[in-house]
């Protein structure tokens, strides 16, 4: 048994002959914010996508909130409801309003009636500061606003864990702040979060732990200050140096 809300062990992932994850162990405590960094192609996205089984790991075990994610008997749709995911490209449904985006899963998965779903949806939009944009379609929103709607779409389902895959990478610099602010608010409310991102400033003052991945493995991990100031591995040092020069 485990006390961790996310407990992934010995995750391997192959894409054909490509060995992308080479035995990753990741344990995350409740209310913890884990920041994942690493060079392009190191397997960060693949790891996140294995956690909610958007990607099927080749081997290993994943338990999230006590649910064995890889057990064929697990109702995967039910399990995914408790794991929010935010994508680099927002992936809002363009044919629906912001409110429609947020209420779809509330109605179809959580089984809420229309009125209740809309009340919960509006509350979620309120939390990301977009209550007055409920009736706008994604095309009428800025990138930052779209990403906040995407976050609302996840948090409306009251997930136990939130996964963020480069949530601000597709945004114009002046729009990044508003999304980070929402993420900070989530963190303060006690949400468990795993964040893949290059926003080192955010990592420094919001992350509990920074995980450095390279070539399909976790090379080292620790508190932000330790990883950023005194990394113990050469590869980590090289990567941090590279990022900070930018």
């Amino acid at each position: 048994m485990t006390s961790h809300i996310v407990d992934a062990r010995a995750i391997h992932k192959h894409f054909g002959t490509l060995h992308v994850l080479k035995g990753v162990d990741l344990k995350v405590n409740e209310r913890e914010l884990v920041f994942v960094i690493g060079p392009s192609g190191s397997g960060k996205s693949t790891l996140l996508r294995c956690l909610n089984r958007l990607e099927e790991p080749s081997s290993g075990s994943i338990v999230v909130d006590g649910i064995d994610m890889l057990d064929p008997k697990t109702d995967i749709n039910h399990a995914r409801r408790r794991i929010g995911m935010v994508f680099q490209s927002f992936n809002l449904y363009p044919h629906m309003t912001a409110l429609g985006n947020v209420t779809l899963a509330l109605r179809k998965v959580a089984g809420k009636g229309r009125a209740e779903a809309e009340a919960l949806g509006r509350a979620a939009l309120e939390r990301v500061g977009l209550a007055e944009r409920a009736d706008h379609t994604p095309g009428q929103l800025s990138g930052g606003q779209q990403q906040r709607v995407a976050i609302a779409r996840s948090i409306a389902l009251e997930p136990r864990v939130m996964l963020f895959d480069e949530p601000t990478s597709a945004l114009d610099p002046e729009l990044v702040g508003s999304v980070l602010e929402v993420m900070r608010g989530l963190r303060e409310s006690g949400m468990t979060m795993i964040v893949v991102s290059h926003e080192m400033g955010f990592a420094r003052n919001a992350a509990d732990r920074v995980v450095f991945m390279d070539d399909g493995l976790i090379v080292e991990q620790g508190p932000p200050a330790a990883i950023f100031e005194t990394p113990s591995h050469e590869r980590t040092r090289a990567f941090i140096g590279q990022i900070q020069r930018h």
């Binding site: 958007l54 995911m85 994508f87 449904y93 779809l104 899963a105 779409r153 389902l157």
Partner: protein
């Protein structure tokens, strides 16, 4: 008689037109019945095949692709003739009406399956992933997220195909279907005058122009900003 009068007398002969108006009207009814049957069954079957194809069952998909390619490559007239003259040897003898209906429905099924399928596959993977990550099932994602977007993309090509295949109801004359063209050409040979043909042309315009205009309207209405 001036040239103009002669022209009118030949192509827009009021007496002939009046006499054969009921025939043309009954032809219109047959054409409308045929067209509606073809559209409903053809598009319905095309969508059903596209949905089956999205299940990604290999052998089933090969079969679907074979059927679709077959009906897309055969000229509709050939299918109608085969069904009308050939099927009686194999089993039931379909009427000209049924042969025309089923043949064109198969053709529309084949073309619309390809259009629906192209629409479904053009929806970015991220849409599936966002929906599945919130717990929606494959089917719920297909019906709530993917198809509504795919339909908007398919409306223009689907409308064009539907109109052009439905106009193929005129091929029914070959197997003695009394639709517009059939009525018009028999009226023409009975009256030794081409005026019924002009009425037939007018009947097609009356039937299809509103459809084309409606398609334009639907296209504009369902466009949305990305």
């Amino acid at each position: 008689m001036s040239g103009w009068d002669k022209f009118v007398e030949t192509f827009f002969n009021a007496k002939v037109m009046w006499k054969y108006l009921p025939d043309i009207l009954s032809g219109m009814v047959v054409t409308i019945e045929l067209a509606l049957l073809i559209i409903v069954t053809g598009l319905g079957a095309g969508l059903a095949l596209a949905l089956l194809r999205s299940l990604a069952i290999r052998p089933l998909n090969w079969l679907i692709i074979f059927i679709v390619d077959l009906f897309r490559s055969l000229p509709p007239l050939v299918i109608i003739v085969l069904m009308y003259f050939g099927l009686p040897y194999a089993g039931p003898a379909p009427s000209g009406f049924v042969s025309t209906w089923l043949s064109l429905a198969f053709v529309l099924m084949a073309f619309s399956e390809e259009i629906f399928w192209a629409g479904i596959t053009s929806i970015p993977k991220g849409q599936w992933e966002a929906s599945r990550s919130t717990g929606l099932s494959f089917g719920q994602t297909l019906f709530n997220v993917v198809l509504p977007q795919a339909f908007r993309l398919t409306i223009p090509p689907l409308t064009n195909r539907t109109i052009s295949i439905t106009k193929g109801t005129a091929l029914g004359t070959v197997v003695a279907v009394t639709e517009i063209l059939g009525q018009a050409s028999s009226a023409m040979s009975n009256s030794y005058n081409p005026s019924p043909l002009m009425m037939g042309a007018a009947a097609y315009v009356v039937l299809f122009l509103p459809v084309v205009v409606a398609a334009r309207w639907i296209e504009a209405k369902f466009a949305w900003k990305r």
